[in-house]
Symmetry: C2
Subunit: 381 residues, 2 copies
């Protein structure tokens, strides 16, 4: 393999592309990226940044037609182009057939059912009316969670239906309805696989929620009993084995009050729940993703120290050119690592960066997280 | 401080500039770099790469005139321009007056003598004839080491004079002559300072030599008695305090068979002997350099695990567009981190990259180093 001659590209040039470039730069790998504007995060450190729309058939074909290997950093890409590129001989990771399953919550859950992988009980509906009918029939009982079959992420495309009035807020179009489970913890495992079939999993990560039940930060490794840890690792391994894609797959889980482990959903790419690995793992998730895409031996997933990862979101009342307030104060903290993605515009709750806090004492780590939440703000000038 | 508004630049766009960009990219710091070709290593990940010659007065003035802070990644820059930029109000790190001392081995050694910092005994000579005269007079006795006062690095500008025939190989021009010391180990300490006067030092690094007495690899932390460790740390701290510059300074030492610690020379920038910190320290040397330049609080220098660092040099018989042979085999090793700088041309013994091997067992680390030396080769196609 001559690294410098590998024709490899990624659909997407956001923060995940930027962080993939860290390893590409280190290896001198000529990683090409496709996204709409070179002002997007990955523009600063790309070997080659191609301007185009990864949702547009022609743009993806033109970009991928020159490549031996094509990966993604976002799921919402033109699927038909991926199928056609694959037919032309480009190695597309994840395989389009798997991406099609993952992009549709119904097909995804069906996949788990078929392969006897544990997931939440679910049913599909073609539209909101059908759901209302099912409720009045008594075949569907509240509370439940509705999820659209199309393009939802980061909480979009999800509707909680706890009481009859919530039925007015049902999402339109095809969807699935999942029973509401009582959750002890939400957990995630980042897995990786290469074409040779080797699979490696990072230790589980725990989502920590605040008083208002909003995601506060992620903590790795998750504070969980060994039995639960082992179950998670086994299911994560099996799930990746069944999907059998190359590169990363992050798997989100519910650990229920009945001590069940249920798969919530997956993302076949680098993921928020693996960002801490940049600082605290032998191999970070971005390097691991490239190892998977290139069919290299996977790296060691060992964590060197515990870490918490806090997303830095745009402040609610600000839209425009971002200004980062409080950087200097946060940089004064020991073993705290700031990542500012460099997006050209901040918007309310938009992911503008993240901070990883490493250490050995969880209390001390959480104190630093509290301080950072109060201190580091993304506003406009 | 608004990070995104800081006008900061670096003279040099080689591998050290590229690795400085890792942190600049992570912080979204608009770091500008000046060097001759954007094909040089730092071209791939620079916010702004300015084409120009850092040895040229006009180029440095034009580049630095727009900046609040100017740093370097190489010493051989136009000194007059730095003095003039400093006079105009640009913060130049290191201060030109210190850089002038460091660039001249005679002034550098005089500095240590003046500040009672331990260094090798030395004398200055204006030319090779003076040295020969001193030898025939008996005022200078063999063996000794001759070092030119001008621009020498990586062994260039240094001549060993062990026997009378070596006098024919004397370097021309002004030089100093140092007594030859019996060395137990060669060691280095990377120090950092910010304008506020805070000083932090990384643990000492040890140069390991092979049977032919050529530098083989660096090992951190150095395997040395606690007493020697403490002496090194104290002298390193004092040396940085006397120079009083902002940013990094790597200090190279001799530990003699008489258990003396002597300063050999310093480099006021990121340095080979700090490369391992990218993988095994809480704060890597490149981030630390930027913290020093920006007058931020310095980061924690703690090493998380031992590491060896091996330079990857161009093979002796190859000049031209580089090809990296054996990458895949080396990437198969656990906890081994390859850095390929991406220089457009390889030349015999040119530094083309480095590999860091981390671990807890020194024997295992050295076995991996041996394997990498045999496996990873920079040739041409």
């Amino acid at each position: 393999m001559k690294m410098e001659e590998i024709r490899i590209g990624i659909l997407g040039g956001g923060q995940l592309g930027k962080m993939l470039n860290y390893t590409a730069n280190q290896w001198n790998l000529p990683l090409a990226l496709l996204d709409q504007q070179p002002e997007f995060p990955a523009g600063v450190n790309s070997w080659k940044f191609t301007t185009g729309d990864f949702k547009n058939y022609e743009d993806v074909m033109a970009f991928g037609g020159h490549l031996d290997i094509l990966g993604i950093e976002i799921e919402h890409v033109n699927l038909q182009a991926l199928y056609d590129l694959e037919a032309q001989g480009t190695k597309v990771h994840p395989r389009p057939a798997v991406l099609e399953i993952i992009k549709d919550k119904y097909l995804q859950n069906q996949f788990y059912r078929k392969h006897k992988l544990p997931t939440v009980a679910f049913d599909r509906y073609d539209n909101a009316e059908e759901i209302k009918t099912a409720v009045s029939n008594g075949t569907l009982v509240l509370p439940f969670v509705q999820k659209t079959r199309g393009e939802g992420y980061d909480g979009r495309g999800v509707q909680m239906v706890n009481q009859p009035e919530d039925l007015d807020k049902l999402l339109q179009g095809p969807s699935i309805v999942e029973g509401k489970v009582k959750i002890k913890k939400e957990l995630a495992v980042v897995t990786a696989r290469n074409e040779a079939g080797d699979i490696q999993c990072y230790d589980p990560v725990e989502m920590v929620f605040n008083d208002q039940n909003m995601l506060d930060f992620l903590y790795a490794p998750a504070t969980i009993p060994e039995k639960i840890h082992d179950q998670l690792m086994n299911i994560a391994h099996d799930t990746m084995q069944k999907y059998a894609i190359s590169g990363l797959m992050a798997i989100e889980f519910f650990w229920t009050t009945d001590d069940e482990i249920l798969i919530n959903e997956v993302a076949p790419r680098p993921h928020n729940s693996g960002h801490h690995t940049l600082e605290n793992a032998v191999t970070n998730q971005f390097e691991q993703h490239l190892r998977g895409l290139l069919n290299l031996p996977l790296g060691d997933t060992k964590l060197l120290q515990p870490a918490a990862m806090l997303n830095i979101l745009g402040e609610p009342d600000y839209t425009g050119i971002p200004v980062y307030h409080g950087m200097e104060d946060v940089l004064a903290l020991d073993n705290v690592h700031i990542h500012i993605y460099g997006k050209p515009e901040t918007r309310p709750y938009r992911k503008m960066g993240h901070v990883t806090v490493c250490g050995t004492d969880r209390i001390e780590i959480e104190d630093k997280i509290e301080y950072i939440k109060k201190t580091l703000k993304v506003i406009t000038s």
